[in-house]
Symmetry: D2
Subunit: 336 residues, 4 copies
Amino acid sequence: MVGQRFIQLLAEHPYFELTCVAASERSAGKRYSSAAKWYLEGEIPEAVRDLEVVPVSPEKVRADIVFSALPSSVAREVEAEFAKAGFIVASNASAYRMASDVPLLIPEVNPEHLDMIEVQQDSRGWDGAIITNPNCSTIMATLTFKPVYDAFGIEEVVVTTMQALSGAGYSGVPSMAIVDNLIPYIAKEEEKVETEALKILGSFNGSEIEQADFKISASCNRVPVLDGHTVVAFLRTSREATPEDIKRVMRSFKGRPQELGLPTAPPQPLIVREEEDRPQPRLDRNAGNGMAVTVGRVREDSILGVKYVALGHNTIRGAAGASVLNAELLVKTRKL
Amino acid sequence: MVGQRFIQLLAEHPYFELTCVAASERSAGKRYSSAAKWYLEGEIPEAVRDLEVVPVSPEKVRADIVFSALPSSVAREVEAEFAKAGFIVASNASAYRMASDVPLLIPEVNPEHLDMIEVQQDSRGWDGAIITNPNCSTIMATLTFKPVYDAFGIEEVVVTTMQALSGAGYSGVPSMAIVDNLIPYIAKEEEKVETEALKILGSFNGSEIEQADFKISASCNRVPVLDGHTVVAFLRTSREATPEDIKRVMRSFKGRPQELGLPTAPPQPLIVREEEDRPQPRLDRNAGNGMAVTVGRVREDSILGVKYVALGHNTIRGAAGASVLNAELLVKTRKL
Amino acid sequence: MVGQRFIQLLAEHPYFELTCVAASERSAGKRYSSAAKWYLEGEIPEAVRDLEVVPVSPEKVRADIVFSALPSSVAREVEAEFAKAGFIVASNASAYRMASDVPLLIPEVNPEHLDMIEVQQDSRGWDGAIITNPNCSTIMATLTFKPVYDAFGIEEVVVTTMQALSGAGYSGVPSMAIVDNLIPYIAKEEEKVETEALKILGSFNGSEIEQADFKISASCNRVPVLDGHTVVAFLRTSREATPEDIKRVMRSFKGRPQELGLPTAPPQPLIVREEEDRPQPRLDRNAGNGMAVTVGRVREDSILGVKYVALGHNTIRGAAGASVLNAELLVKTRKL
Amino acid sequence: MVGQRFIQLLAEHPYFELTCVAASERSAGKRYSSAAKWYLEGEIPEAVRDLEVVPVSPEKVRADIVFSALPSSVAREVEAEFAKAGFIVASNASAYRMASDVPLLIPEVNPEHLDMIEVQQDSRGWDGAIITNPNCSTIMATLTFKPVYDAFGIEEVVVTTMQALSGAGYSGVPSMAIVDNLIPYIAKEEEKVETEALKILGSFNGSEIEQADFKISASCNRVPVLDGHTVVAFLRTSREATPEDIKRVMRSFKGRPQELGLPTAPPQPLIVREEEDRPQPRLDRNAGNGMAVTVGRVREDSILGVKYVALGHNTIRGAAGASVLNAELLVKTRKL
């Protein structure tokens, strides 16, 4: 699902030209349209239809930037090979996210972490570099944390997620498992949500990240929704903040991508709605072309102070779109 | 949905004989099988098929105990009329749940609150009485709180619910609203979850309830599941308790219904499972004939101490079965 | 659902300006954004948001063409009033579809039936007129029949439909009725499918329609799909036709809307696919902006000769888009 | 799914004792409860929980009758080995269904085809034998054909199926493929539906089957329903028959299993309902413990004469229950 979203986003991109699609040996040598069954609405973009699929090898790939939707187990080795060979690897895989010299980026949140690339290249002796985006749920959550963290500080966050099927990949969740059902567990997901945000909101002191100092506890669920992760958040701020305060800082939040006018950046990273029953996956996941996070039901919480619901498109803002935005930031600010 | 569950549970009940079905004027005078479209699996029970539906009026109803699945707006007046006329009203409506002289019962949790009936009859001059069961989500949650509260005390609870469609009634949620979607809001639900448990876990001092002294914060969601409410709970206990402690007290928990062998009581009110991906609505909602609550994923929580997932059948344990169990307790212990 | 699709299609239409929204007394006087809960993806179009809703009365409505998504019971009287008062009524209601002097139009199929307007105005003494579009399933089916009928004649058609939830209106199908289920019945649907196509494919001799002379038998089902009606058709042609013949005439089929370049007309009314598992509602309903019908699995049938599967968007091509295309045809060819 | 249904049906069977569970090498040696993830409601039956899984080999299996839910590719070789080694193989696989010396049985329809066993043993030199049940959709359809065929003859049948997810196996249909969607194709299904019924309704002349002489045309669809295949049938009889005639012969239909009182036989193989919107998968699939087929909407058809909708549980009547009923018939009539 993420691979096809990459293709959809890159097919007519103003900065990038899609020159090459790489996949496992089984597909290599075929035309993309024969190798892949297209799962998204609409047709395979013309630009890709007849591309010959090449093996996942630095020698075979003709490109400056490589977008990776590899499974984590494979990513560890392969992404390093590519970075060593001089490629910029914009990765959606989890393999390097928590590595101390790899930027874990949300361009609206921590664009300055891009500077970790120098540390990375020095320490690893790479010509290229790996930059990563967080786990899908982390992205939605962290985008909502950022303006609150800056304005009021955060002490504790309790989150329950209701995550879409596409997050598990096309064949990840059998229909027999989920029709008239939900699954209150997603392998390795809670750990990611509980740790990644702290690195992202941490500060880079020129040599390493000092992680943000608060606690996140998560409980993650799979629900029968095609696209769109919903995050229910309960939040304790360091300084007092009313629901109106929270909404205000969220609404006025803009980041570097908005300043720079990056092509994939939504005009508003956070859309705050007032209806009592929003956000909803089917109605809100495509806000900002799938790149905006919609927040609703911001209200007082008797225990932690404030609670709200946030929602974003998991394979766009939460995966392929995240990597593309990372690459846009890199290209625009680094004159690559 | 709740009315039909009542019929299903009462049709062949060892204590009760279903003598009468009452409904609005529109249905009155018809045979039940013509008045109602049967929505549950299987056929309308024989015993009810040919019963003539009577109006909802104490003069027309021939019975000792009246089970009420009325909408709250109607229940306030009608249930009082019946109680005044000498009926025992076992109500699933919310109208009287929080009244200071009306028992809000979960037989495994607070059977002694039945003694409020005397206060109620005295103060209101009724021959009959109203006893109520809590909101569906409250029941699942409170059953899991009880053994923890008794053993370790509770300070704070954060809950997120994922609630089934049947909880809104047969026509409550249009399919267009919920296929490939979820709704992060259920009208008046959070208030109920946040207050009812405190009354139930309170102590009755002979004249009034002293409510339990802790805080509950809830965020309630509707998900595309037919039956079975899922509750994700984060809990701070007063005294330290490990996940193993929590599981132990849950597993050994039994209440009066189990001691008395009430016909609708499940052998175990709480079933604790060890699989990492349970409970799930479709697999666990019918445990204990829909009267057991299944708990899973009991684990440490970095913020509140412990977190887990609980699930129960919302129209059985959470509604009709709850009222029937209340009536069984009343009959058995009061020699009605 | 149809009303909102009308608004979506008309909000930025090159021929039409949306001047007025009319609804029942309950909504009249409110701004559209307060009167209506918007169910489609994205926001209410700007142009409509602040329009004041007026009552459904010729005196209150300021327009040349009125698009009607009224329930049939109301449509009979109201649409006549508007036509009498000089409005062109482009109706999606079934009230006048089979009337002998009212065009039942699919612009690609029987644009010449527009000439029935004169007969209608003469016989009824109206200044305005009513033009109608067929039932949603009829449209998909009849579009596929047309090129086959013209090239090879049709003797008999057996169709089974699998129809989307939106066809019943937003609250038409409760989620409890359809999750993990289907309903093998849709009130009054089969009669429409069995009769409307014969009028549409009939010829207008200047005073009346001579209906097409073949038989259609239908069995209609509701399935848990949001949008997109699927029609399984078995067809006996008058003259022999291989599956390749059928595909060829479907692929080359164009109608007046394509010749005239009507804004809502899809470039190709029929898209024939070769994959063995297409068309599918979620993948194909938006083809041609929801105005193309996708056909697949055209193959030999041992009994009737040929069988295939057709699919179209039921609230766009099958309802609102159909009425809009009718109005476009009228405006363009009649210089209204 | 079929394997687990076998276990459910055999765990407390009055004729059979479940002595052995065989599976691939990967599972062999483990206890059943460790080897298998249980997908059905309720717990793994006690009798099976601790059974050691053995390899699929005649030397390792301790049993008289072997129930096979093998994939067809494997079944061809393995079932023959077992039959050669003296086992009775009651198979749900398609490998031997159309073999000229293998009974393709529906006990209510063609119990006399069991006599093919002698031909089979003679020609193949086997001590054991293979008996098969038809494809799931064939079973539902053919059960409804039988009384009609006997009373009025059949000339032509057009069927459209809407088949449940469980028919493709637990992981057969990804949720991403089917939520808010349907797939108008099931590999190799139409061929089975079009041919198997003719063998079943054929007559065995002591040495071979003379197939029934009529035509069936099918179009098969996958829909988002967990269990329960729906068959829409249009039927031309040889002798005239009104819908009332059809309903009468269906209602009075009984077969050998009912005469013999076989434990898995439903009291009525066909249940005919009069409601306009039945049968429905969720409401009717469990009729007769999943072994009855429910028929509804029997009505006149303008083309073929009569049309109706039939529905049955695909993994019970359509698979595991079918094999078990076959074995019961064999045991009861052959004194095995």
